[in-house]
Symmetry: C2
DNA sequence: GATACAACTGAAACGGGTTTCAGAGGGTGA
DNA sequence: TCACCCTCTGAAACCCGTTTCAGTTGTATC
């Protein structure tokens, strides 16, 4: 079907009666070429729809203009929002993203990193999976460290190593925003559905939750601190089931992330508990799914475009030998929708 | 920070006292090498964590093991489900996906295709954007045709050209499933929120809707055929607003896709129209967002894993010179949830 | 010990670009 | 007219692997 072999600058050069070097100069614009020859060559390029082989280019350039991205779960709305924004940011800057899905599996994490190193990506962005663990896995640290020695690595999250920059959501300010909002709107009975403390983000939010509650002079009711197994909708349902048995409900609940909050709210409805009439709900991450529910869920937002832009720029800077900032925090904003109400 | 230059097979060869060819043979396993030398080389590979340069490899291999994918909108749940499944399918088969987001912009479509050709992807998958138009844009056809002459192209959707295979959802059977289900459950007053007929999928569904309704002996009420501007949630809201003014409601509505259905249902609720008590709702595409609403929306599902697998396999087959199937249709399934009820 | 093979191995070419280096041609000022 | 400089240009080297081709070495057979 397509048996014609790929044409090369040599073919163009021969037909135009110039040297391959001249064709290359025209392609890259790296030096002046007499207009007459230039036009002859450009004509041929158009005629054959010649496209220079990017692999061959990458061989000499030392830059591939690839950025690798390793993500725990591409189908999760949080990562989806993040890498979607990264694709756009990279594309604006003339880079393309090589995306890997590890499903939080260590073997796949290693495979992805190996693949990216082999492809000489200019830098890589790693998010989720073992990065998020509060207790760092030494094997993983070794992998990160040896990778970073070859290729710049940026972590989307808290960086576990001095040599690696991290760009993370500011969990503490997020919690401050959430609690302050609820307190200002009259809430004094506040609960929290969260996942296991093995996750760094959860641990940080939980500690701050306790601090903020204390500062506001509010009591924390053990019963309203609900630990669920994961970051998914099902975990939210589990939380709601526990809640339905309680004698007294809090007036407001926090959900550790949007998927949990959505599952939580949906199951609450099935138990006849209405949001926000019976209970206000405030979530974290503000992915697009929060505007799909009824009521839409108020959530703490991280401005994914800015988040991604910071990630990608940090990665590119580093790959150009620029200075490394150790940890950047993304400022959160409260995106109020319909799931919180004022208590009188 | 990382000033050590990349090591190559030449470095390894020198230190091991063998030729680069031998190192290459060990790397690829393409020929036997005396055990003693092999061990010496492998030891050095481990010591330096040597990773062969994939770009250099691709230069001789003629295969890059890249598949390009051009998508209209990566943040849309439909494309998200599709390319997520493609990433996984490609990864299982030893390929990686180069993903491009065109935002349905023709210039970006062309840029993406150019980029992919330059990178000598083994094949590319194109979905959304101008592909979906019923009235094909001749410029786009030319682009497709000249691309396909160089690199195998598979269309996720209806193929507009004989030379290009397409893998598409079977819109007609989807509509059959939907109508049959509603009719069996006693519905006789059925409406449809859909987007402009310039889109192929919409046109196909609409024609089949009319045929199916006629076959079931049901009358189509003009008022209940609601044309909205796009495939997004806002369009769904617009549809619901129109509906709220009607004297008589249908007992069931179809939504052209999940985003429209979600927006539709959400706004209906704001108008005090309940799903499924007042009106049943059935959607198309069955992306994950349909299980996030209350009630969860029943939707016609395309089994994205199978869809993606077919796409990726077709692409790879083609790139290996395999035979081309012109058009494959993906069989739909009805995924019943909570948004439809029986009418007595 | 000679012969026939099989198993290994290295030199060199190749893939498709970019870049360096040196030379050629043209223009300028003295 | 000569010296000098600037602009173009091609040959060749390079990037880093793979593959072909032509040995070389080792082993089994007679």
């Amino acid at each position: 079907m397509d048996e014609m072999k790929n044409i090369t600058i040599y073919d163009i050069a021969r037909e135009a009666g110039v040297s391959p070097a001249t064709v290359s100069r025209i392609l890259t614009g790296s030096a002046n070429v007499r207009t007459e020859k230039k036009e002859r060559v450009e004509e041929l390029i158009r005629k054959y729809q010649f496209k220079p082989n990017a692999m061959a280019r990458a061989l000499t350039d030392t830059r591939t203009h690839f950025i690798g991205m390793v993500v725990a779960d591409v189908s999760n709305p949080y990562y989806h929002s993040l890498f979607t924004a990264c694709i756009n940011a990279a594309s604006r800057l003339g880079y393309s993203l090589l995306l890997f899905n590890t499903l939080s599996n260590s073997r796949m994490e290693e495979q992805a990193v190996t693949y990216l190193l082999e492809h000489r990506v200019d830098a890589m962005i790693i998010s989720g999976g073992r990065i998020d663990l509060a207790q760092q896995d030494p094997d993983f640290l070794r992998l990160l460290e040896s990778t970073a020695r070859k290729t710049p690595v940026v972590v989307a999250g808290r960086s576990p190593l001095d040599m690696i920059p991290g760009v993370a959501a500011d969990h503490e300010r997020s919690m401050d925003l959430a609690i302050r909002h609820l307190v200002r709107h009259g809430h004094r009975k506040i609960g929290f559905v969260y996942t296991g403390k093995q996750f760094y983000g959860t641990r940080e939010k939980l500690l701050r939750f306790e601090a903020d509650m204390a500062e506001a002079g509010l009591e924390i009711r053990k019963e309203w601190l609900i630990e669920v197994p994961g970051y998914d909708m099902r975990s939210g349902s589990i939380g709601a089931d526990l809640m339905s048995d309680m004698k007294e409900l809090p007036t407001a609940m926090l959900g550790i992330n949007d998927l949990v909050s959505v599952g939580f709210q949906k199951r609450l409805a099935e138990h006849g508990i209405r949001v926000p009439e019976d209970i206000s709900l405030l979530s974290f991450d503000d992915t697009y799914i929060t505007s799909m529910t009824t009521p839409a869920i108020s959530s703490v937002d991280y401005d994914y475009d800015q988040f991604a832009d910071t990630l990608v720029r940090t990665a590119i800077n580093l790959s150009e030998g620029g200075p490394a900032v150790h940890q950047v925090l993304i400022t959160p904003h409260l995106n109020l929708k319909e799931s919180c109400r004022r208590i009188d």
